[in-house]
């Protein structure tokens, strides 16, 4: 079984400041890792994913994340945020096992970008 912990439920930040959203996971098997964004009254949109290879992953909208296997972390970063980045962000994992790739999500972090 897998579990995902997002350490901050809310992160307020000023526009153009850097931000880091933290994610730790626990799993007895190897997993793939994801970050999704959810804008109000919308579905989930994939920001980025780590499947293999370089541990630094770049996604859409200027976001990036770094996979740290020893610390079982996958923190999301952006060097300069915009008002439009205000949304809920979810970290998720999925086992490598073929056929059972359902996502296990964290509880989410609400990013609030202030002018």
């Amino acid at each position: 079984a897998q579990s995902v912990t997002q350490l901050d439920s809310q992160v307020p930040v000023f526009e153009e400041a850097p931000v880091e959203l933290r994610c730790n996971y626990s799993s007895s098997v190897s997993v793939y890792l994801f970050w999704y964004v959810q804008y109000p009254n919308q579905g989930l949109q994939l920001l980025l994913k780590y499947l293999s290879g370089s541990t630094l992953v770049k996604g859409i909208n200027g976001f990036e994340a770094e996979f740290n296997k020893s610390q079982t972390s996958f923190h999301l970063r952006k060097p300069s945020v915009h008002i439009s980045d205000t949304a809920e962000y979810f970290c998720a994992v999925s086992p490598l096992r073929t056929g059972r790739r359902a996502l296990t999500f964290g509880s989410g972090t609400r990013l609030q970008v202030q002018p």
Partner: protein, 114 residues
């Protein structure tokens, strides 16, 4: 490419009533998922289909929830009878399993049970 379509967008029912949600996945996507997202929480898997067969329904409350995927395309999720704690957003997602993690989520159905 058309996205994952879900209907209705919103539904308000009284407890003990029944309700059904519909999902039309992206054409050709063999895998379909239903997730429940309670306010303030991350989505939780209810059921996973591969074509029209169930892969995982271990977290589906089978005494009141049921789901089917006829002909491996559209899917319906039903709740009967509904409880107050079923108030949530129900998200449908599909993926082309062979290529990996091309998950696409629908906009969801927001259910309020009063």
């Amino acid at each position: 490419e058309a996205g994952v379509a879900q209907s209705p967008r919103y539904k308000i029912i009284e407890k003990r009533q029944s309700v059904a949600f519909w999902c039309n996945p992206i054409s050709g996507h063999a895998t379909l998922y239903w997730y429940q997202q309670i306010l303030g929480q991350g989505p939780k898997l209810l059921i996973q289909f591969q074509n029209n067969g169930v892969v995982d329904d271990s977290q589906l409350p089978k005494d009141r929830f049921s789901a089917e995927r006829l002909k491996g395309v559209d899917s319906t999720l039903k709740i009967q009878p509904a409880k107050l704690e079923d108030s949530a957003v129900y998200l449908c997602a599909s993926s082309l399993e062979i290529t990996g993690y091309g998950y696409t989520f629908g906009s969801g159905t927001r259910l309020t049970v009063v």
